[in-house]
């Protein structure tokens, strides 16, 4: 019988030098250029909060330097007395029938680089692609906006209602215990840049999204805030491998991004790698337990008459159990995304 751990689905823990995308919309103005080296916190684009469509006549021949391509940012035109009003500055969508369709709008917000790296690609009105210098810890979703800040790992049993403090303004905090939308909204109100959570229930996600939408609609916005979810919807303890990475990154300036969902860690941090035969139980009666893979244990009949392939696992608490392989996962050796 083979003892192949390859039967257990592997999940990436870290991505070295990830390529990340910062989402843009038509009308947003990119201030960085391809090849530019950027540092965490640097402004790379201006985002239009409420883009709108403007139609303007195509200027007379010779005014443009060549024919502008869709996605080009065009400067505003002054009104010409008695003839027509001037066009505002905006991004060209397309020209048709002698008229230009421009995306424009007031109240630009600034988009900051979430980590050190360089600009790899600019897709006007679509995305800004950055190549990041350091590794990224893999998450499942970013709620809110990309941001960066000093990483502070809160104690495992810390109650967010008590430990959140204005002294944490500008930081990215790791909340290991139960988290709700109210705690995250408080964190944002205190100027905290972001939170890393193990899991977040759907209701809390929707509450947070609604709260963010209200912020978006307000004239005076608070600073951007991101909540990075490392796991799923049901509360589970962070795995030892993830905790070890967070501990190693604690105190450094980290970034939160959503495409792909990652916690960006500075390149100079030495991070622990997962042990190859270590497995985590992600569901069932032993959910949250960890242990060492011993080998396949064959097809077994489980509770409720279900049959499934199982594997033998030596759990850290000393028990050796046959656990459905579907409820196990392991962390794979990091592979570059770029």
């Amino acid at each position: 019988m083979t003892d192949a751990i390859e039967l257990v689905p592997a999940r990436a823990l870290l991505v070295p030098r990830p390529r990340i995308r910062l989402e843009l919309q038509p009308g947003d103005r990119v201030t960085a250029m391809v090849g530019d080296v950027v540092r965490a916190g640097e402004v790379v684009a201006e985002r239009i909060r409420d883009p709108r469509l403007v139609e303007a006549p195509v200027p007379r021949a010779g005014v443009d330097q060549g024919t502008p391509l869709p996605g080009t940012w065009l400067p505003g035109e002054h009104a010409r007395a008695g003839r027509r009003v001037g066009a505002p500055a905006g991004e060209l969508l397309f020209e048709h029938g002698g008229r230009r369709r421009l995306a424009t709008g007031p109240h630009p917000d600034r988009l900051h680089a979430p980590a050190d790296g360089y600009v790899l690609e600019v897709e006007a009105g679509v995305a800004l692609v950055l190549q990041i210098d350091g590794p990224g810890l893999v998450a499942t979703e970013l709620l809110g906006e990309p941001h960066s800040g000093r990483l502070i790992v809160m104690p495992e049993d810390a109650d967010p209602r008590i430990v959140l403090d204005v002294a944490l303004a500008g930081a990215v905090i790791v909340l290991q215990g139960r988290v709700d939308a109210e705690a995250l909204a408080r964190a944002r109100a205190m100027g905290i840049h972001g939170a890393v959570v193990g899991s977040l229930a759907d209701r809390e996600r929707r509450d947070l999204a609604a709260s963010s939408a209200r912020q978006q609609a307000g004239l005076h916005r608070l600073a951007p805030f991101g909540a990075l979810v490392l796991g799923g919807y049901l509360r589970r303890p962070l795995s030892a491998a993830v905790r070890a990475v967070l501990d190693a990154a604690s105190g450094s300036v980290v970034g939160l991004v959503g495409d792909p969902p990652l916690l960006l860690i500075p390149a100079d941090r030495e991070l622990p790698l997962p042990e190859p035969d270590r497995v985590v139980v992600r569901g069932g009666l032993e959910a949250g337990s960890e242990g060492r893979w011993l080998g396949p244990a064959g097809i077994r009949r489980l509770r409720g008459g279900i049959t499934a392939e199982t594997g033998l696992v030596a759990l850290d608490d000393g028990r050796t159990l046959a656990i459905p392989i579907g409820e196990l996962e392991r962390f794979a050796v990091p592979v570059s995304s770029g």
Binding site: A4, L92, D202, G305, E327
Partner: protein
């Protein structure tokens, strides 16, 4: 698997092709592409979004037989899976395994033996990609959307009639969009003719922003602006949308969009090919209900006499991404799962559990996790049927096959219960599961004759028989409805029928027989009548007499509904309380 054609003489399932005059079997010729060196076995691999299923098929007594099969969560190694299958076969039949492999196989330093280098037939299903549709009018948008959804795409759509160019550009450039479909009707009306040129220019603007975006033009949309666009986008011309919105008859546009979406090893298209082979080999009307974590499909294959005297088959495939197992983004989706779930769970918790299963489909596989999967499966099949009934109709078939990992996540009798609960059609139908996930990989065999031959060999192994479901319509509830007389296995069984419930009659796999139903009224069982004679085949659930309403009516009150559903569930799934 013994299958019968209800209402007709029993079909002989030994449907191997007739030897040719020179004494050779066409089966051997047909297998040539993956049996160049006449290997004694091959692997099948079905790479699903949630599951990696594998099987080992080998030649035993000059026939292909299923030797081992299993399934693991996606993300596991196919090589490790193949090794596991070979190990399992070696343990069961060491002598035959050694003979097939040409020896016991060399062990590595770790004591493991790599799997023999036998051919692999692989099919894969990928999550539905997103297609942005921009159309001139709302009517055309609806028709394009119908075609794209039926072809398995996730769709975001807008029309120039309702949406401004900025919004259309945002729609087509949002994350996840991989292709753009621009369409107008053919011939266009006056309004569309004016808008077609502007749409083409807008599409060129979008293409300039998104290099590599695939662009499809349906109908008389001018291609010139796109051909001049920055980055020279790849533009494909597709047929114009036809029919009225909601009229989902097989369209050339849908077929073209399906081809554009999937590769040659796409498991859902392969399922359609396999269904055609099954219809030809078994001469049965076959329906496959495939439910996956990232998509779903319904296939109907109908046999018909061929010009050459053999059997041909017409096959219809409709994909429905919205019927994916844990897809809960439509209003009411959660309510339908809750409707079928026999455990009380508050709505927020139910939503979280389903969302968690969408991320980790194999977690919580036993206990009430299995019951939740059963409820989600019923809701998904409901969505699949609701979306495809207008296209494929509600006509009776002889054999319903559950395909996809969701059907194997519940015990086989419980799967039969799912079919009975949701596929509510008067008549008699046999039910089975593609338990080893063979249909997809076998469907990738390009040549029909070759595929038919392999399926004919494997027909006893590839389907797990659940039994026969007999479902009359028009009985008065909670009253004595008549009698059933079952002649099977040399014995005669009499059962009193009471309308409104489920009655289970023992009929093991491999056993066929005849059921005579004598009703007090004149219900519909295909035709209306008082006495029926139906050929039935056995399975792990047996003969299921479903005398409940069509459509199924359940109590409005949640506690009463759960109690009633639980009663039926326990009858077919006695371990579910364990």
């Amino acid at each position: 698997m013994n299958l019968v054609k209800p209402g007709t003489a029993e079909l002989s399932v030994d449907a191997r092709p007739t030897p040719t005059p020179d004494g050779t079997e066409p089966v051997a010729e047909a297998r040539e592409p993956f049996t160049h060196d006449r290997p004694p076995a091959f692997f099948t691999l079905d790479h699903g979004t949630a599951t990696l299923a594998g099987a080992l098929v080998g030649r035993v007594d000059e026939r292909w037989r299923l030797l081992a099969a299993t399934a693991l969560p996606a993300g596991g190694s196919p090589d490790a899976l193949a090794a596991l299958l070979v190990d399992r076969f070696r343990s069961a039949d060491p002598a035959r395994a050694a003979a097939m492999a040409g020896g016991p196989g060399r062990r590595t330093r770790k004591g493991t033996r790599p799997p023999p280098a036998w051919p692999r037939l692989a099919a894969s299903s990928v999550p539905a990609e997103t297609l942005a549709i921009i159309a001139a009018t709302e009517r055309t948008r609806a028709r394009l959307e119908d075609a794209a959804v039926g072809a398995g795409w996730n769709v975001v759509a807008g029309s120039a009639e309702r949406t401004d160019p900025l919004e259309l550009t945002r729609l087509a450039t949002r994350p996840g969009v991989v292709a753009l479909l621009v369409g107008v009707a053919d011939p266009p009306d006056v309004e569309e003719r004016d808008l077609a040129a502007e749409l083409a220019v807008a599409a060129a603007g979008i293409a300039a922003r998104r290099p590599g975006l695939r662009i499809f033009l349906a109908g008389p949309v001018p291609a010139a602006p796109l051909l001049d666009a920055w980055g020279a986008p790849v533009v494909a011309r597709l047929p114009a949308p036809t029919g009225a919105p909601g009229d989902l008859a097989d369209s050339a546009l849908r077929a073209a969009l399906a081809s554009a979406r999937s590769g040659p090893d796409d498991s859902r298209r392969a399922l359609a090919a396999a269904a055609g082979s099954l219809a030809r080999v078994l001469s049965l009307r076959v329906e496959i209900l495939e439910i996956g974590v990232a998509g779903a499909a319904r296939v109907v294959a109908l046999p018909a006499p061929a010009d050459d005297g053999g059997v041909a088959a017409t096959v219809h495939l409709v994909e429905v991404p919205d019927a994916a197992l844990f897809r809960m983004d439509h209003p009411g989706s959660i309510d339908r799962v809750d409707h079928w779930f026999t455990q009380g769970l508050d709505r927020a918790r139910l939503r979280d559990r389903l969302a968690e299963l969408a991320i980790a489909p194999w977690s919580d596989i036993d206990g009430d996790g299995a019951l939740l999967r059963g409820a989600a499966l019923r809701a998904a099949v409901e969505r699949l049927l609701a979306a495809t009934d207008p296209v494929l109709g509600v006509g009776g078939v002889d054999l319903v096959i559950g395909a996809g990992g969701a059907w194997s996540a519940v015990p086989a009798p419980a799967a039969a219960h799912v079919v009975a609960d949701v596929v509510r059609r008067p008549g008699a139908v046999q039910a089975a599961i593609d338990h080893a996930r063979l249909l997809g990989p076998l469907g990738t065999i390009a040549d029909d004759a070759e595929r038919d031959a392999v399926l004919a060999d494997l027909v006893d192994d590839l389907l797990l028989p659940l039994g026969t479901i007999v479902m009359p319509r028009g009985l008065r509830p909670n009253r004595a409805a008549g009698h059933l007389y079952l002649d099977a296995g040399g014995a005669r069984t009499e059962v009193e029928l009471v309308a409104g419930g489920l009655t289970l009659v023992d009929l093991p796999p491999g056993v066929t027989g005849t059921a005579e139903l004598a009703f007090r009224g004149t219900p519909e069982l295909g035709p209306h009548g008082r006495r029926f004679r139906v050929a039935v085949s056995g399975g792990l659930a047996g003969l299921l007499l479903d005398l409940r309403d069509i459509p199924l009516r359940l109590p409005e009150r949640a506690d009463r509904r759960r109690e009633l559903l639980g009663t039926w569930e326990r009858a077919l799934w006695p371990e579910h309380d364990a």
